[in-house]
C-alpha cells in the first residue's frame, strides 16, 4: 500500500446517529461507507487538538477556584506540593473533559457550539480520546495521592467519576435536573484544594463548594435559554426544552436567590474579611437584578438579551467573588509575614 493516507473520518450531523440509550454499541466513528475503506487511518491531530480535549476554559475556572480553596485553608503546605496539587486538579479536570467528549461525540456533532471539537471534526478517534482521558485521570489521582494526601486524591477521583459517569453518562441525557446535580463536579475543586492543605473536609470548604454548586443552575440555564434550539436538536433535556421558558426563568431566579446569601457566608463565618463581605452582598444584589430581569422578560423573545447578559455576568460573578476572597487572603498572609 502506498500514497497519502486518509485522516480519521469525520462525524457529521448527517452521519447516522444512534438512539440515546443504545449509544456505545451503535455509535459510528466513521461514515457508513467508510467501513469499506481498508486504508490505515493516520491522525492529522496536532498537540493543540489534545489540549482542546481538556476544555481549557473550563479548566481555568477549576484551577482558579481550586487554588483559592488551597490558599484559604488554614495550615501550611510546601509550595512545590501546592503546585503539584493544582497541576493534578487541572489535569483531573482536563481528563473529565476528555472523557465527556469521548462519550458525547454523537451529540457534539449535532450542536453548533461543539461541532468543531476534535472528535466530531474527525481529527481524533473516540478510542484515542478514551485512552487519553483514562490515562490523565489515573496520572492526576495517583500523583495527588502520592505527593499530597489520600483524601484530596479520593476527592479528585470522585470528581472525575461524578463528571464523566454520573453527569455525562447518567444525568445529561435523562433529566432536566442534569446540571443541578452534575454541578457538584465543578464545585469540588476548592474542596480538593482545601483538603490538600488540611487533609480534612470542613464547613468552610463545604461553603466554598456550595457557592459554585448553587451558581451552576442559573449560569447554565441562562445559557440554555438562548441555546435551546441546539439542545433540542441534540435531544438533551435541558430545562427550557422540558419545562418551558417561563418555568426555567423562574427557577433561575430561585437559585440566584439561594446563591446570593450563601456567597456571603465566608464573611459571616469569619474566614473572609469585610471587603469580601461588602463585595459579595453587592454582587449578590446585582446577580439577583439580572435574574429578575430575565424572569420578567417576555416569554418567546427571540434575542434573549437578558439571558445573554445574565450568562456573561454569572461568569464575572463567580470569578470576582473568588478573586476578592483570594486578594484578602494574600493581603492577610503578606501582613503576617511583614509583622513577623
Amino acid at each position: 500500500m502506498s500514497g497519502p493516507l486518509k485522516p480519521v473520518a469525520r462525524i457529521s450531523a448527517k452521519t447516522q446517529l444512534p438512539p440515546v440509550n443504545d449509544k456505545i454499541e451503535r455509535m459510528p466513528l466513521v461514515e457508513k461507507n467508510a467501513s469499506l475503506d481498508t486504508s490505515i487511518g493516520l491522525s492529522e491531530a496536532n498537540a493543540s487538538d489534545y489540549i482542546a480535549l481538556l476544555k481549557p476554559r473550563v479548566m481555568s475556572l477549576v484551577v482558579f477556584t481550586g487554588f483559592v480553596g488551597l490558599m484559604a485553608a488554614p495550615g501550611q503546605i510546601h509550595p512545590v506540593l501546592a503546585a503539584i496539587a493544582i497541576l493534578c486538579i487541572a489535569v483531573g479536570a482536563g481528563a473529565s473533559g476528555a472523557l465527556n467528549m469521548w462519550y458525547d461525540a454523537d451529540i457534539d456533532a449535532i450542536m453548533k457550539r461543539t461541532a468543531k471539537r476534535p472528535i466530531p471534526a474527525g481529527r481524533i478517534s473516540r478510542e484515542e480520546v478514551l485512552t487519553f482521558g483514562l490515562l490523565l485521570s489515573a496520572f492526576s489521582v495517583v500523583t495527588l495521592g502520592l505527593f499530597v494526601n489520600l483524601l484530596s486524591a479520593f476527592l479528585l477521583a470522585f470528581t472525575i467519576f461524578f463528571y464523566a459517569v454520573v453527569y455525562t453518562m447518567w444525568l445529561k441525557r435523562s433529566t432536566p435536573q442534569n446540571i443541578v446535580i452534575g454541578g457538584a463536579a465543578g464545585a469540588f475543586p476548592p474542596m480538593i484544594g482545601w483538603a490538600a492543605v488540611t487533609n480534612s473536609v470542613s464547613m468552610e470548604s463545604i461553603v466554598l463548594f456550595l457557592i459554585i454548586f448553587l451558581w451552576t443552575p442559573p449560569h447554565f440555564w441562562a445559557l440554555s435559554l438562548f441555546m435551546s434550539d441546539d439542545y433540542e436538536k441534540a435531544k438533551i433535556p435541558m430545562m427550557p426544552n422540558v419545562m418551558g421558558e417561563a418555568s426555567t426563568k423562574f427557577q433561575i431566579f430561585l437559585y440566584t436567590l439561594l446563591v446570593a446569601p450563601v456567597a456571603v457566608l465566608p464573611w459571616m463565618m469569619g474566614f473572609a474579611g469585610p471587603v469580601y463581605g461588602v463585595f459579595s452582598i453587592a454582587m449578590g444584589a446585582a446577580f439577583l437584578g439580572y435574574a429578575w430581569t430575565v424572569w420578567r422578560a417576555p416569554v418567546g423573545e427571540a434575542m434573549m438579551k437578558p439571558a445573554k447578559k445574565m450568562f456573561a455576568f454569572s461568569i464575572f460573578y463567580l470569578f470576582s467573588l473568588y478573586a476578592v476572597l483570594l486578594g484578602e487572603i494574600l493581603v492577610r498572609k503578606a501582613l503576617l509575614v511583614a509583622g513577623a
Partner: protein
Amino acid sequence: MSNDRVTLTDKQRKAQRSRSIALALALAAFVILVYVGTWAKLGANILIRPM
C-alpha cells in the same frame, strides 16, 4: 518486494511532529515533577533508609 511504505502527507507529517514534541515535553515535565516532588515531600529524609 513491493513498495508497502506509508507516505505521509505534509499535514500528517506536521501533525506527527507536533504530537511528538508535545509528548517529549510532557515526559520531561513528568520526570522533573517526580524529582522535585520527591525532594519537596521527603527533603533530607530521602537519605534515611534501612540498609
